[in-house]
Amino acid sequence: MKRFSPLFSLLVGLLFSAAALAQQGPIKIGMSMPQTGGLGAGGQSALLALRMWVEDVNAKGGLLGRKVELIAYDDQTNPANTPGIYTKLLDIDKVDLLIAPYGTVPTAPIMPLVKQRGLLLMGNFSFGVNNVVKHDMWFNNAPWNTAASWSDGFIQAGQKLGGKTIAFLAADNDFAQNLANGARELAKKAGLQTVYNQNYPPTTQDFSSLVRGIRAAKPDIVFVMSYPPDSVAIVRAVNEIGVGDSVKIFGGGMVGLQFTPIMTNLGSSLNGIVNYNSFVPGIKYPGIDDFLKRYAVKAAEAKVDPLGFYLPPFNYAIGQMYEQAINATKSLDHKRLADYLRKNEMQTIVGPIRYGPDGEWANARVVQAQFRGVTDKNTDQFREVGKQIVLYPPQYKTGDVIAPFEKARGK
């Protein structure tokens, strides 16, 4: 009987292995991402970044010898849609891995689902969604951890300026309230006297009355926690009504002032505002410059946020973390991946990330930056170092805050 040579056996073996891998199909990663609604603009740029990672990883041969496929549905920034979408992803699309939608409000409703099914979930710029659920396979990509980490830099800057009184204006929803409560606690610990404390309804269209109320309270520090459409209206109302000469520092937690179309539209009326961010030019992370260059080309084609500082690098980082964990464990097992993520430092384009026991960053890196010298109708100016001066964290500081607020605005 004729015997096969060892080389022939090896070739056949390899062929069968390749066929088996091909039969397994791609590794499916599923998520919902707001493409419309209040968080739609941010969601579009974030999804573009994730697709860039998928292209990059597939160009390198995929993961575990399989191509990677991203399945994403639009949740319309509507939290009522996300449980249904994730059930579909798991039961119909049979995805292997999950990424959370961008934002706190759409993420919160899926936390019980992933905990119940024992699934790993990579968080996507949400805040505090795991505080109650306490899921041990949750890992957030956001550079904050506790509420204090979000507002700490802002409150510290206000105190350094001699602030004694504080006003709070916050959107009346889960996300904003969680953060505003953190800031309120910090202010209390710091001995600041709260002279104004209002939560506004999400349907508010004109903020003249609220801004006038703040001016009447004569605070030293004004902490605002708002969603994108409201942030625009608040900045406009502040420009028209004014918050008064007493205010030394204004801003803090205004979502939307990180998005390019909003920054471009608001232009010079942003000057003086100190606000949180995830990344601004001037902060050096390995690989981020190359990513942003490639992103700018793709963003122009896709007509999404052309700068992409806020969300896209952190979404790309989600892919990088999956890549690192899967390559290291040679597995798609959620428990093994979670264990790896918990114990190891992840290398990403937004710097090294190490997770704490709650699945949030062990060391928060929320940036507080002041808009300076911004002119009208110019998007490219925001690529320059110096249009947003980093005040916090100290290791990335690029300048000191200009105060009072009216002086910083150039009024």
């Binding site: 739609g40 209002q198 939560n199 269209q205 009355s209 609220l210 006038r212 009447a216 999404v304």
Partner: protein
């Protein structure tokens, strides 16, 4: 609350109220007078905002752009009513319920169309009166709200005069009150209604210009205004233009006072406004100016 703050609250409320009245005026005609459940009215208004945005990029002032848009929107409204009439009203008694579904569908198509055409980003316009304010001592009034106030008052006066002084206006009122009688007089109620719906849509275009003057718009913004506009029209007493201004003022002032008061809790603003609506309707079910 200090007196100056109270007065400013009322002042902002008047300006806000006139804006609410302006965005409700078209609905006051289509729903109040014609009994067409036009839930797509705010969506049409948002289309007006986006068209204003396009025209303002060509250098037109937003209010002028709104006026320029009125004739094409008038024609659009006539077409829309004709379709609604042929598909629903002509066929019988369940037109109202089916009409709601139809106009919800129209609103959704408009939303998706705007998203596809313009994306999800907010759009805003620029004008000398946007972002600046008039100062009277310590009081500062945003000029954009003053402009909207003026246009809303002018629109209300013109519509009231048109409805009471012109033959077509009186015919529109007649069709709202007694359609068979109008038919017996030899007038064609469908053509009258079509004309009136055209007016309502043209007014919505101008309201859209005011909407984008007040603040940035996005394709889903119509959802915020469905409840508010219907509340204003019902509170006014269906079809009354003067009533629409007063109803807008009630909602605007109550909302503004709750928002400006440091201790009331701004979150209650919509609830207080709608509680007032219920209270008024409890006393006068026909609305403030309804008969």
């Amino acid at each position: 609350m200090p007196l100056d703050l109270l007065l400013e609250g009322i002042l902002f409320g008047i300006l806000l109220g006139c804006f609410y009245a302006a965005v409700s005026m078209g609905l006051s005609v289509s729903f109040g007078l014609l009994d067409v459940p036009h839930v797509a009215h705010p969506a049409v208004m948002v289309v007006g905002s986006y068209c204003t945005f396009l025209l303002s990029r060509m250098g037109l002032d937003p209010i002028v752009a709104g006026l320029v848009l009125m004739p094409p929107f008038f024609l659009l409204g006539m077409l829309m009513y004709r379709f609604y009439y042929e598909a629903f009203e002509k066929r019988g008694t369940e037109a109202g319920v089916r009409g709601i579904a139809f106009f919800f569908g129209v609103a959704l198509i408009i939303e998706v169309g705007l998203i596809v055409s313009f994306g999800v980003d907010q759009r805003m316009v620029e004008a000398s009166y946007i972002g600046s304010s008039l100062r009277f001592g310590d009081i500062r009034i945003p000029q954009r709200t003053l402009v909207v106030f003026g246009v809303a008052i002018a629109m209300s006066v013109l519509l009231t005069l048109y409805m009471s002084k012109t033959f077509t206006g009186r015919a529109i009122k007649a069709v709202a009150q007694d359609e068979p009688a109008l038919r017996l007089m030899g007038a064609n109620p469908v053509r009258i209604k079509q004309w009136a719906f055209g007016i309502a849509t043209a007014v919505a275009a101008l309201a859209g210009a005011m909407l984008i003057i007040i603040g940035p718009v996005d394709p889903n913004m119509d959802r915020i205004y469905i409840g508010r506009t219907f509340a204003v029209v019902v509170l006014a007493g269906l079809g009354s233009m003067t009533g629409t201004i007063f109803a807008g003022l009630i909602l605007g002032i109550s909302e503004s006072l709750v928002l400006i008061h440091p201790d009331l809790g701004a979150s209650w603003a919509p609830a207080v406004s709608f509680a007032l609506l219920l209270l008024v309707l409890g006393i006068r079910p026909q609305g403030l100016f309804g008969r």
